[in-house]
Amino acid sequence: MNLAQLLLTCLLALVRNPMRAALTVLGIVIGIAAVVAIMEIGKGSSQQIRQSIASLGANTVNVMGASVRTNGVASGMGGRASLFASDAQVIMSECRNTVELASPVVRTSGQIIVGNTNWSPNSIIGGNEHYLAIEGWEVAQGSPFSAEQVNNSARVCLIGNTIATKLFAGKDPIGQEVRIKDVVFNIIGVLAPKGADMMGNDKDDCLILPWTSIRTRLAGAGGTAAIGKAGASNSTSSVSSTDTFSTSAVSFYPGCDVQPYTNAPHPLRTRTVDSLIVRIRDSENANPAMDEMTTALRRAHRLEPGVLDDFELRDRAQFSKMVTGTSETMSNLLLAVALISLIVGGVGIMNIMMVSVTERTREIGLRMAVGARPRDIMFQFLTEAVLLCLAGGVLGIIIGHVSSGVVSSMFGWPIATSPGAMMLSVTVAAGIGIIFGWYPAFKASRLDPIDALHHE
């Protein structure tokens, strides 16, 4: 019997009892439809979650100075002023495979004044020209600052949406002046709103400046981690007042031969940064990137083997993994339930195939009498079961796809079509046909032709 004849025989046998075939298949149809719909909805929602997390800047790694211990009192993370703006360059040039972008981060706080109003923003952050891209910020109005503006410590700033509405209600903030600690900055752009961060803080309540501008122009305000908390005597004493308003070009990226922690009179305040923020390529697995960055930074900081790192890496990708993981767990749970319904459908197939074997005992006897070998009979019944399941699978995919579309348009849930899931469903359906069709087929092949022929 060739394949075409086998298929024809099986189709004829199934078509002989169309109602029963349809009802048998129903279990598989429902099971596969549930699997497909859940996979599409689940995938859609985890994709959406991943996107929204990425916009929170989750595929980033933070580099902080290590903690420092003075007279037995340990500072917190980032206590040590051990990070340099040059480290961002080092990371970007040496970890090209795993790291997309890196930026130094400096922070300050204080009052800002526009005209006759004032405001204390949540944060005043300094970064380089990549900072916005790393954090996933978009500029809604105006333009971001350039690499040149960073190098020149330009007096420019970008303001968050909250500040734009609080201080410039209705007016166009672009080109306006804002005074930060009595230094006048030009507003060159307004950031697109981001809403609250994971902790509930308003992310839009911020100013973003070139980090050099903060270090050189707002130096007196540099009361954050690297300098304020460090307690290291050399970090503040070396700053001369001329630094504060210096407009001449300063070497912000000193060569790697500069030995950190010497008491040499470097303009430390302009070199050290609070932390670095790094955008990595693989948001799911930050480990290779972190390993590479560790190696690069240790080399840049000239740390001998055995010496502890003078910096620490913090992986924000972990968070994205956790949240995506939660949604994946949920959809896997639902998938398990759908798979159970698929098994129930499979048992239905098995049940009907058993009935079919009993009912068609005479047919089996006849086929054997005219020359069908046991394995021919087995193949025939197995093929019937698989055909039923495949038909159910295809129908289930269509129904599942349509129903997930209906659900998405009714409730606005995101869905993602996945051809992989569909292929998988068809395979699973065929597998169920083989697993649950095997026993009835085996039973049929074991019939004695004489008994089968005289079966009533």
Binding site: A4, L12, R367, V370, G371, A372, R373, P374, L453
Partner: protein, 235 residues
Amino acid sequence: MIELRNLTKVYHVGELDLPVLKGISLRIEDGEFVSLTGASGSGKSTLMNLLGCLDHPSGGEYLLDGHNVAQLNADERARLRNKRIGFVFQNFNLLPRTSALENVMMPAYYCHPRRPGNEIRRRALELIRMVGLEERMHHTPAQLSGGQQQRVAIARSLINNPGILLADEPTGNLDSTTSVEVMNMFRDLNRRSGITVIIVTHDRKTAAFTDRAINMVDGLIAEGVSDELSANLVK
């Protein structure tokens, strides 16, 4: 040619051994038209199953064209049945809700080596025409009368061009007129195509169509004994 040498068949029912065939020796030449008669319980069905290679004997030899069938396994017997033997049954055994044509073609699907589909179809159409059912070839068994169904079954038995036709009570479910038609058909087949036809029956009128009557009594052959006598013996 069929040759049986001291063929025995014993059924085991629990602890008991039930000998059904007690040493049958028989020779049926190619092209014979034979009936196998006997009262129920005489072992003719068992003998028929053995002749049809559906079962294997407990002892003795069954030579079909010189090959000992008793030594074949289930798959080899299936091949042999497919190639050499055509079956016709009392209850026709047509596949329900399947057209007459499909029914006729069915045994050819199990041929080895495979036969091409259009060749099978051509041969099936030829046979359907031969049994005079070309107008009804797309009808299902339920739409055919008993006689027509048996004619489809005969066409089916011939699809693989067998040398032997085994008919088990082929007229048992038919009225006397159709019985005669069907028996004439067997006779024509025997005469024209030279097929060996073996008809198992308990009906004397049916047996009368054949050239040779093999009478079975109590698991043994009482060949040459007249019908009346065998009937008396059973009593």
